[in-house]
């Protein structure tokens, strides 16, 4: 390269800067575009075209003062060009009405953060839960289709089709990019929190070598939602629950590869700063005196970490409170376990036996029943239930834990005749 033009920048510098901006601000740029266009695919395509223009333009004329502002402005123009060619008159008119006034805005403007609107669109209950999860990870967190497919054990084409269908439904069915009004807020927030929680639990149960940590993505989303909508007790409750649960992550599997419940974990492996932050956020939420299911779940996670061991009577009381919000057999099962651990295994077992029809195919029901039969002294039935629970165990560490419990019971059995 002889005598570069004044202001010209090397291709490598341009590519690096573009990569940096897209990594840090893609979600924000996409949200700003999609909220105006009401169409995520169109927003993605326009942003992609703007990025390609940036490679050529920034190399010739130098890096813009605000690369984000430049990208947004160029992407809006690209979107307007595409919309002028569209045949869907109503959508075109509406989107152009939103975009054209924005076009005159200067590049250095601060980009309004529309990510909460994007999140509410991606998590709309008119979309299937798995599609909500995939679309939120793709659009807000910037995961690739391949990464999402891997996390949910799907092939990339299948996940790609799911994403396309969801984006098309948002555009064609007119799903709004809006923060819901007060009357819709509770049900729509629940839809968002369910989506983020599923991202979190998928990450929590994934093997430790997964390239994209979905727990971290869920935490990023919860912190973002909390920042964009501060002082909401259920948002704070969900964030607290994730912090308190993920604090125990490193202690979850013992040295022998055995899955351990909180009461048997090595407490020194718990992340103290996460525990402290989770407790502080939960305390702040509860001061607002508007209890809800996520605050209760966070309080349960907190009680599991009480000194010197889990506060079972309190956990039982909290599950009863949760049942009023979520009257599901799984909540009843957890309440039964807490009652048994708090000292009344006969009562706990009676509740569990009553859930057989609903939970017969649910592995934790068999594991809990086995433990309770053991507590009430019915060793033979307990051993049988353990064998069933081991056969159904979702992961090898879970099976190992149950095999150890079964071995304990069988040893006691063998010892008894001699005693």
């Amino acid at each position: 390269m002889v005598n570069p033009a004044p202001g010209a920048v090397s291709a490598i510098t341009v590519a690096k800067e573009l990569d940096r901006v897209m990594r840090s601000d893609q979600g924000r740029l996409l949200a700003a575009l999609a909220a105006g266009l009401r169409d995520i695919s169109l927003a993605e395509e326009a942003l992609q075209e703007a990025a390609i223009s940036a490679l050529a333009h920034w190399g010739r004329s130098g890096l813009p003062r605000s690369p984000q502002g430049w990208l947004l402005q160029v992407a809006r123009r690209k979107a307007i060009d595409r919309l002028r060619g569209t045949t869907r008159e109503a959508q075109k008119a509406r989107a152009l009405a939103v975009l054209i006034p924005d076009e005159g805005a200067t590049q250095s403007e601060t980009i309004p953060d529309q990510r909460l609107r994007l999140i509410f669109a991606c998590c709309h209950p008119a979309l299937e839960l798995k599609s909500r999860v995939a679309l939120t990870l793709r659009s807000v967190c910037g995961l690739t289709t391949a990464e999402i497919a891997r996390a949910f054990l799907d092939t990339e084409p299948t996940m790609g089709q799911r994403l396309s269908r969801a984006k098309a439904k948002i555009a064609v069915a007119g799903i709004p990019f809006a923060i819901p009004e007060a009357d819709l807020w509770p049900s729509r927030l629940e839809s968002v929190l369910t989506t983020v929680y599923l991202i979190f639990t998928t990450g929590y149960l994934a093997p430790p070598d997964e390239p994209r940590d979905l727990c971290r993505e869920a935490e990023f989303l919860m912190r973002l939602i909390d920042q964009l909508r501060p002082d909401d007790p259920e948002i704070e409750g969900a964030l607290a629950m994730m912090l308190l649960t993920s604090a125990r992550r490193r202690a979850r599997i013992g040295v022998d590869g055995i899955s351990l419940p909180p009461s048997m974990q090595n407490r020194s492996l718990w992340d103290a700063s996460r525990v402290a932050e989770g407790r502080a956020i939960l305390a702040r939420a509860m001061e607002r005196l508007q209890p809800g299911p996520y605050q209760i779940k966070a309080a349960i996670a907190d009680c599991h970490m009480a000194e010197p061991g889990p506060d079972w009577p309190q956990i039982a009381a909290l599950y009863f409170a949760l049942w009023r919000h979520e009257p599901t057999p799984i909540v009843s099962l957890n309440a039964a376990v807490a009652i048994a651990e708090a000292g009344d295994p006969t009562h706990g077992l009676a509740i569990i036996e009553g859930l057989e029809e609903q939970l017969r195919d649910y592995q934790p029901w068999h594991a809990a029943r086995a433990a309770m039969l053991g507590m009430t002294g019915d060793k033979f039935a307990a051993a049988q239930a353990y064998r069933r629970a081991i056969a159904m165990a979702p992961t090898a560490p879970d099976a190992l834990f149950l095999e150890q419990r079964l071995a304990d019971i069988e040893t006691q059995e063998n010892v008894q005749p001699d005693a």
Binding site: R38, E89, A90, H124, V172, A173, G174, I175, P176, A178
Partner: protein, 119 residues
């Protein structure tokens, strides 16, 4: 955007003619109609006669086949519809929730296809 709200009723669960529940349902429909008109969103809407009056038709090898009965023998039947013009799906869902049949049937919300050519 225009949406069609398709009202599917289950005749078994629908309140019987002459009962207080039936009157409540009719009052509910009257209230929805008034509300849709007052808000200026109603484009059209009607109830349909029962499925026992339905006739289905298809053309097989160029020959018109006419049959007695509805398209599909299901428990819930299309019993009526509204076409409304509202800004987005949330607005359409809010109106759909006012339809009395939502309590004992199902309301399907479908966007109407936009055929207007580009100007």
């Amino acid at each position: 955007m225009q949406y069609m709200l398709l009202i599917y009723n289950n005749p078994v669960l629908e309140p019987a003619h002459g009962t207080p529940a039936f009157k409540q349902m009719m009052d509910g429909y009257f209230a929805v109609n008034e509300r849709l008109k007052a808000d200026g969103v109603l484009r059209s809407g009607d109830g349909l006669q029962g499925v026992e009056t339905a006739t289905t038709l298809r053309i097989k090898s160029g020959k018109v086949e006419t049959m007695d009965g509805p398209f599909a023998e299901t428990r819930e039947h299309l019993g009526g519809y509204y076409v409304i013009d509202v800004p987005d799906l949330d607005a359409a869902l809010t109106y759909a929730a006012l339809i009395p049949s939502a309590h004992f049937g199902t309301i399907e919300v479908r966007p109407v296809m936009d055929y207007t050519p580009a100007g």
